[in-house]
């Protein structure tokens, strides 16, 4: 029993906190404060509403609609962000030139330009994917950048001394060094990507998770709105934990992760 608890301590304690949170929420609105459906909802109603949206197929359709631009935007962020970050790290002059500019963009509230992006690229997949790309690309750039900067020159020298060429240096030293950095960036980018989907759909859409949340909110159907938010939270956690798990299994040489 002790051993069992030891091994599963993290998930058990984590789930317990979540369950307590929902129970407390339910209890307060059942026996504490009277429930005003226009400003708040409670877990029992939320889950009931969520099941209705699942059964009608509405939820799945919205997820599909929102998922497509997320995949496009995210993949584009990977494809652009990693090479750009690597070049910035490896070629000092490129790094010095681009670093301040990109840092400024990264620090600015990029969601604020969402309406413009939608105007430029339209309300369809293209506009949403672009917005997602803009928000997701920075963690990939800066993490690959930091990864390349942390490459151990002794390892580069060792591989070169045994006859390694440029390509071997990438394969044997640089890629394995930056991989953990990139994965950490990927975890961070997921959160930003989900925000971008929602924001994109708040502004202009007739379907999708973000649209539905805005719609339910406008209609004061708060239990349904919270149901959708819950789904997004679950997706975010699933992705984050999935990437974490991949990190642990893929990088066994990293101590204490």
């Amino acid at each position: 029993m002790d051993k069992f608890f030891e091994d599963w301590r993290r998930p058990i304690l984590g789930s317990l906190a979540i369950i307590c949170f929902f129970l407390a929420w339910e209890a307060i609105l059942t026996w504490g404060i009277p429930l005003n459906k226009f400003i708040i909802s409670k877990p029992s109603l939320i889950f009931a509403g969520l099941f209705q949206d699942m059964n009608s197929g509405l939820l799945w359709r919205d997820l599909l609609i929102s998922g497509r631009p997320l995949v496009f935007g995210y993949v584009a962020a990977v494809l652009v962000g990693i090479p750009l970050g690597v070049v910035m790290g490896w070629r000092v002059r490129v790094g010095y030139s681009l670093d301040p500019l990109l840092t400024a963009f990264y620090a600015s509230p990029l969601v604020a330009v969402a309406p413009l992006v939608i105007i430029y690229f339209g309300v369809g997949v293209a506009g949403k994917a672009t917005l997602i790309f803009i928000l997701c690309v920075f963690p990939f750039i800066f993490n690959s950048f930091a990864g390349v900067r942390s490459v151990d020159l002794l390892l580069i020298n060792a591989v070169r001394s045994f006859g390694g060429r440029e390509w071997d240096l990438y394969r044997i030293v640089i890629v394995p060094t930056i991989l953990p950095f990139v994965v950490a960036g990927a975890r961070f980018a997921i959160g930003r990507g989900l925000i971008a989907v929602l924001v994109g759909e708040f502004f202009a859409a007739s379907e999708g998770v973000g649209y539905r949340i805005a719609f339910y909110s406008d209609m004061y159907v708060l239990d349904r709105m919270f149901g959708y938010i819950l789904v997004i939270m679950v997706i975010a956690v699933a992705f984050t934990e999935g990437i974490r798990w991949a990190e642990r299994t893929a990088f066994p040489w990293r101590v204490g992760m």
Binding site: L154, N157, A158, S161, F162, G163, P252, W253
Partner: protein, 264 residues
Amino acid sequence: MTAGYIQAKNVNLTFTPPNRAPVTALQEFDVAVAEREFVSIVGPSGCGKSTFLNVLLGLVKPDSGEMSIHGKRVAGPGRDRAMVFQEFGLLPWRTVEDNIGLGPELQGIPKKQRRERGRHFIDMVGLSGFEHHFPHELSGGMKQRVGIARALVSDPDVLLMDEPFAALDAQTRDIMQAELLRIWQEAKKTVLFVTHQIEEAVYLSDRVIIMTKRPGRTKSILKIPLARPRGYEMRVTPEFNELKLRIWNELKDEIDSQGGPVRD
């Protein structure tokens, strides 16, 4: 000095780190090593020993100077040389086996053969059972032995060894010294060996080069006329101790004027 198998002449190298004072590591440094000779280099810490090995390995370009190995100018790294690095330089994401296989892998030798060749050297350095461990799971001495096996497995003509036994305990060090002498004699290699241990230098070498403090130049060269094969008992003979004392005295002058510690 006649043209050697390894020949370095008038090597100069000054490091100019950004925002820091330049450091002259090597000044008019000369070395000539005969084929199949075992030469040690001793000198105060920071006098440029590692720097010189890196230059000879072809990793660092000197500001001036001529270097050749077997008549061929050193222009970059080559398969005729392999280095045991002072700070190991093992790939953290590779197991012991795959770290040792680095040289053969870069030579295009198939995986199965690499493993077989590696196995022999893993046994030799006493790491059997640790083939699938990662460097962070090894002690300092074990990492050092991986570095030694990695250099030996690619079967270079010239072995450059930068304090290869520094992290080993006394017994393992004795075993590794004997192994190194055996390989050196059997496989007909030329060895350039950096050490801080005077006793080790005398025991292993045909000649010992004593370097000045930085900027490193050759202070003197001492022939070690002891017969081979050398056994452990030789280390307590008067001749042996006489040679040790001579090196110690030469080094002491350098280190005294620098204010650093002396070890024997």
